[in-house]
């Protein structure tokens, strides 16, 4: 299955990480890598989440994440070819 990376801009407050990872867990998708940082604006954090799934799963995750109240932006990152 294809690896894919989703970038999120989320509200920087308690419980938000739990809501995001809970969504992955409920749909049965393992998180391979997770990175969270506060942005220059302390009201928001940026998350980078790497997991595996085909195109349908990727689309579904983007749409499900977009519905969360604390999620402000969702970007499906284009694949990076590391072999070069």
């Amino acid at each position: 299955m294809d690896k894919f990376t989703i970038e999120l801009i989320v509200a920087n407050r308690y419980g938000v990480l739990n809501r995001i990872t809970g969504l992955y867990a409920r749909r049965g998708y393992n998180i391979d890598s997770l990175n969270v940082n506060e942005t220059a604006d302390p009201n928001f954090s940026r998350m980078l989440i790497v997991s595996k799934g085909d195109a349908a799963i990727q689309t579904q995750m983007v749409r499900q994440l977009s519905k969360l109240y604390d999620v402000k932006e969702v970007t499906l990152m284009s694949a990076v070819n590391f072999s070069k």
């Binding site: 419980g15 809501r19 409920r26 349908a56 579904q60 749409r63 977009s66 519905k67 109240y69």
Partner: protein, 548 residues
């Protein structure tokens, strides 16, 4: 003007038109209940027998009225008792605001008495939830709760409010309700119009989204305009009158034969406000095969989730249908509509006077009018109600579709009856489902609600028994109840009227004599092996349909 947290809750409830709320007091909501006492002239609080009943009542109130249902409980067990009710509202996209008390903020996270993390517990079954840890956030949070519950695809929102927040004070800003109107969009309809015009055998599959957006009239016109028959999901049962000639009834596992067969014959499925539940589609490969799927829904995440569509439009059903009706020419498909009408007629069952579920429901329907609200519990009686009751107007069916919650019915009937100006309300239930939350009979008696409760008593958990008969070689594991409950006597013990009917004329007598100012229970013993047919076995398709 400074107000306490409890006063701010009252003001925001009133600002959002929540003049009727359902709940149960307790330690962590004492300040709020003190304000409810002082504001009894502004907010009618209905005390139920159990918090779950309050949540189902708020749900039933919302389904029947289209307004937001509000439920209030205390912390800990009060909060956990409404989790089923919240999940039920979530699965059926019912707007609800649940307010729970909690221990004082300094006591949070210390396993204090009656403390649970209700925000953590309910997270997977709400649109969003909040803990209010600062009084200055309370007004905006409540305002947001109502906005979220009512915007886009509707659903429940929970607000957890610690007790000290209810007594602290801050400035009240008088926030007005946010507009939840869908912004006007220009839909890209080109592909949809082309597919509809190219289709020889179009079929509309309409669901709860049609009812939620109030698009019944548009659906009827759309169906006539493009000459397409309509199959309904259970959530969409009241989207069209049963009497409409091209309304084929419910589709899916226990749906009408006509709805399943016509879907299988179609070359285009126009799905309106549905999420293609497994119970409605069966085998999705067979469902999608040899036909175009045009999916229209307000929730983008439903598009291509369960069934892959070739064409999709994301938007409010009413808006999309109006836009389509603006440009679609009249299209007659005589061969197709003749086939559908003829097929529907040939499916009419012969008349009998048996004391069968069908005749019990049809007899009851003669004591109802187009506005009568019908609630159900979950199981065989629910399917029979949907198959045989002639629904005429939107929001007249309160039934647990997605979660399939046994015990939903009585609470929902209470909420629906109150929403419908305490007019005669019917609950079709069964011995199994009724046994789960019958304590709410006390609420219906106290509130003087004319709810007629028809118990189809087969002495078993009928739907599970049916599956055991068909798929487990009649090993009736834990589904034969052997209970000796005298339901008529039970009703009288609660202060309700109680009847037992063994014939249609006895049922008519009971329906005729049911009081105007309180509930009546009518027990109708039926055969233990009554089954719901037709049935498409789970994961099957129309070729697998079992007729009897």
């Amino acid at each position: 003007m400074k107000k306490s947290g409890a006063q701010i809750i009252i003001e925001q409830l009133c600002a959002h038109g929540a003049d009727t709320v359902f709940g149960y007091p307790g330690s962590a909501v004492l300040p709020l209940y003190d304000e409810l006492y002082k504001n009894a002239h502004r907010i009618n609080h209905i005390i139920t027998a159990h918090e779950q009943g309050a949540a189902h009542a708020a749900d039933g109130y919302a389904r029947a009225s289209g307004r937001t249902g509000v439920v209030i409980t205390t912390s800990g067990p009060g909060a956990t008792n409404i989790v089923t009710g919240i999940a039920n509202a979530y699965l059926d996209s019912v707007p609800m605001v649940a307010i729970t008390g909690n221990v004082d903020v300094p006591l949070l996270g210390k396993d204090s008495f009656q403390e649970v993390d209700i925000v953590g517990i309910t997270q997977p079954v709400v649109k969003h939830n909040f803990v209010v840890r600062d009084i200055h956030e309370l007004e905006f949070t409540l305002h947001e709760a109502f906005r979220i519950a009512n915007s886009g695809r509707r659903g429940p929102v929970l607000v957890d409010i610690p007790k000290n927040i209810q007594t602290e004070t801050c400035e009240y800003m008088k926030m007005k309700p946010a507009s939840v109107e869908m912004p006007k969009k220009n839909f890209d309809l080109q592909q949809a119009v082309a597919a509809i015009q190219a289709s020889k055998r179009p079929y509309i599959y309409a669901g709860g989204g049609v009812v939620a957006s109030g698009a019944g009239a548009e659906l009827l016109e759309f169906s006539r305009r493009i000459s397409a028959p309509v199959g309904l999901s259970m959530m969409g049962m009241t989207a069209l009158p049963a009497s409409y000639e091209w309304n084929l009834g419910m589709c899916g596992m226990h749906g009408a034969y006509a709805a399943s067969l016509v879907q299988a014959e179609s070359d285009l499925v126009i799905a309106l406000g549905v999420r293609f539940s497994d119970r409605a589609t069966g085998d999705t490969d067979a469902y999608e095969k040899d036909r175009t799927i045009l999916h229209i829904d307000i929730d983008l995440s439903e598009i291509d989730k369960n069934v892959a569509s070739q064409i999709s439009i994301c938007g409010d059903i009413k808006q999309v249908l109006r836009a389509l009706l603006d440009i679609l020419p009249k299209c007659d498909r005589k061969a197709w509509t003749d086939y559908v009408s003829g097929f529907k007629k040939s499916q009419a069952l012969p008349h009998s006077n048996d004391f069968s579920p069908k005749n019990i429901i049809e007899t009851t329907s003669r004591f109802c009018n187009d506005d009568t609200v019908i609630a159900t519990d979950v199981g065989q009686h629910q399917m029979w109600t949907v198959l045989y009751y002639p629904f005429a107007k939107p929001r007249t069916l309160l039934t647990s579709g997605g979660l399939g919650t046994m015990g939903f019915g009585l609470g929902a009937a209470i909420g629906g009856c109150i929403a419908n100006s305490k007019k005669r309300t019917i609950l079709f239930t069964s011995d199994g489902s009724f046994g789960m939350n019958l304590n709410e009979l006390a609420t219906a008696v106290t509130q003087k609600l004319p709810i007629t409760i028809i118990i189809l008593n087969n002495g078993a958990l009928g739907m599970v028994r049916q599956w055991q008969t068909m798929f487990y070689e009649k090993r009736y594991s834990q589904t034969t109840l052997y209970r000796k409950t005298d339901f008529a006597a039970l009703a009288k013990a609660f202060g309700a009227a109680g009847y037992t009917a063994h014939t249609l004329s006895e049922l008519e007598f009971a329906l005729h004599n049911a009081p105007e100012n309180g509930p009546a229970v009518i027990e109708c013993p039926i055969d233990i092996d009554e089954k719901v047919f037709p049935m498409i076995p789970p994961g099957g398709c129309v070729e697998d349909i079992v007729i009897s």
